[in-house]
Amino acid sequence: MAKLKPSKGAPYARILGVGGYRPTRVVPNEVILEKIDSSDEWIRSRSGIETRHWANDEETVAAMSIEASGKAIADAGISAEQIGGVIVSTVSNFRQTPAVATEIADKLGTNKAAAFDISAGCAGFGYGLTLAKGMIVEGSAEYVLVIGVERLSDLTDLEDRATAFLFGDGAGAVVVGPSEEPHIGPTVWGSEGDKSETIKQTVPWNEYRVGDLDRLPLDSEGNVKFPAITQEGQAVFRWAVFEMAKVAQQALDAAGITPDDLDVFIPHQANERIIDSMVKTLKLPEHVTVARDVRTTGNTSAASIPLAMERLLATGEAKSGDTALVIGFGAGLVYAATVVTLP
């Protein structure tokens, strides 16, 4: 048996830069109310959402990712050629082959970086971050770009009063690179496939090829609709608040810190009520800054954590070097939580 040379990576990894892209069109609740019987007050009280961004035809998954990544690369102070890996988490890129990550890697000017897409719903950022850390510590890349990007407006049923107001579009990216000290804690992650029905796309794409109208979603005029993301609100709320609070606590324990050591809490921006309830359940101290980007960005699934991170740093609510707990959770059901030092 031949003896193989061991791979040689960095001792640890850290987030070196963050960038975000929010589509130019800002959509207030009034626009949502054109198609559903509800009210601005109802939407705000159930979700905290006031506005969200919807992408136009030019703001594709790739285009938004490239904008966000360019900012993250500049923030990290490196050049695109140094990037050895590009990981894109999305559920709303409609050309499945090839992976959109390859186009992004090319257009950013990387030197043939390894590039691939992952599907982990609203936990996608944490999944990507964990893979990136592994690649850096294992030695297969020095710098890895992790992108969360969604055009959930394409997967929103505007006639469903329970979800029409929830989703938004955007891209968030971070550059992960080598570090002499640990700045990304152990990830506490997992899946609960027995709850796969609680958040899902209404019908799989292949049903459209079969074309059986009884199995396809129809709009109020009987026309075939695009699939949409639906969820069982109460079941998701219970799981997100009470089960995810346990996972968040496990991530703190795994990193060897207590809530008192935290500066910032960046949960997936699903719904402000979930955020409020998690903060209460976790008994986070007053001094911890809590991301509430959902108010003006809506739920952007995999993009929500890096977008919220970018905004907290841009507004000065959080600063470089702060210790942040990030936790993503969503369709799968899947989840990922970790403690990171902010770039």
Binding site: S45, R46, G233, V241
Partner: protein, 82 residues
């Protein structure tokens, strides 16, 4: 020891007071959580989880929608408490 109907109503009153800020004396058997007590569908989940802990009972998601009034919840807990 299992809680009595009176104890359950008092416990639910405390919980609803804590979560929705409704005075405890307003929480009575015939009151609807949504219509009378300002407990929306998401707050109802918080009420249910708090009640589960307090009364050592499991209330699955599919049963939550049947608990329209304080009386419904009280009967459910009386029947299912550990």
């Amino acid at each position: 020891m299992a809680a009595t109907q009176e104890e359950i109503v008092a416990g639910l009153a405390d919980i609803v007071n804590e979560i929705a800020g409704i005075p405890v004396e307003d929480v009575q058997l015939d009151k609807s959580f949504t219509d009378d007590l300002d407990v929306d569908s998401l707050s109802m989940v918080e009420v249910v989880v708090a009640a589960e802990e307090r009364f050592d009972v499991k209330i699955p998601d599919e049963d939550v929608k049947n608990l329209k009034t304080v009386g419904d919840a009280t009967d459910y807990i009386l029947k299912h408490q550990g």
